[in-house]
Symmetry: C2
Subunit: 196 residues, 2 copies
């Protein structure tokens, strides 16, 4: 059983190293990305959509060339456990999702996924074992037509200098940057003198 070009154990190692913990969602995510890669439509360049920010984007980032920083991975916050890979020009894609109808055979996975048990009531070893054994059988596949402009990162456009903070920002945001318009998450800011 492989996850893309890796053995399952190699994939676990990559997950630990990149994501920090062997999160159940990332293990299922490995199977999701693997199954999507095996069902790619024709084409050469694929972008990814992840329908939740939780765990799953890291499976995409580990296993495909798509990352959040290069813009080939888009996250839409539907809270559905699904990944779509689509040909970037035609929008033709494959969507793989965790299928709630296929959970009955795997009660520990079901209780984790549907949050039927608190974290301290879960049997982590059993959960991991069921995920590994179930593999692709938890998943279903759809062909989808993606409208890329609905998911893709918008261009930054022309750059201005914010008259308040003095930093560069996208002029389209207005006369000041969004931070200085009041959306700031910082309640205090102090300049630090650096020696170099």
């Amino acid at each position: 059983m492989n996850i893309c070009t890796y053995s399952y154990e190699e994939y676990l190692h990559l997950v630990k190293s990149f994501h920090g913990t062997l999160a159940p969602g990332l293990l299922i995510g490995g199977f999701i990305v693997d199954l999507a890669m095996k069902n790619l439509p024709e084409g050469e360049l694929f972008d990814a959509v992840c329908e939740t920010p939780v765990c799953l984007p890291d499976a995409v980032q580990i296993l495909t060339p798509c990352t959040i920083g290069n813009g080939w991975l888009s996250i839409i916050n539907f809270g559905r456990f699904a990944v779509t890979l689509y040909e970037k020009y035609s929008g033709k894609g494959v969507r793989v999702y965790l299928d709630t109808k296929k959970l009955e055979k795997w009660p520990e996975v079901r209780d984790w996924y549907l949050k039927k048990k608190k974290k301290n009531e879960q049997d982590s070893d059993l959960l991991m074992a069921q995920i590994k054994e179930a593999g692709h059988t938890l998943l279903s596949v759809q062909k989808v037509q993606v409208e890329p402009e609905k998911v893709r990162r918008k261009k930054m456009g022309p750059v201005g200098i914010c008259p308040v903070c003095g930093e560069a920002y996208p002029s389209k945001h207005g006369e000041k940057c969004l931070n200085c318009q009041g959306e700031t998450p910082y309640s205090e800011v102090t300049k630090v003198k650096t020696t170099k």
Copy 2:
């Protein structure tokens, strides 16, 4: 000259492997994260804020334990080229940004950053050389107090089954999942029969 625990050349290799290309923003991002790590406030667990989705989040994901999938990296779309690392409980943090006042000595970096030249007019080798030579001198540092609840990923909360698509989704989104409420990026969806 190192980027965190890596030599500059090792960092370039990681960038190529994870991000796909040696994007200028990711090279400057390496120096930004490095300088932030050198100026961390006291504490043990740090979360990251990236003020643009472009390039910079990948520098954070390569160099720190914070990723988009594990929730320790938050992206706010201010379009400012800045990274903040903050102690996750106290919110005390350090913010490092590309300082427009420090660009005059590095005209190729300035013209790239402020979009004064089109891509085909840029001298890529000169740009890379100036970024490497300038290093930390392009940057400034601030102490900041972060309000974590303004940047951190919200909890998913209880899970329901969408009566339309049959998939699990956060009940707080309403009676149907957001996709089935009409926000879908998919114009066509067809189920695929899988052999396994």
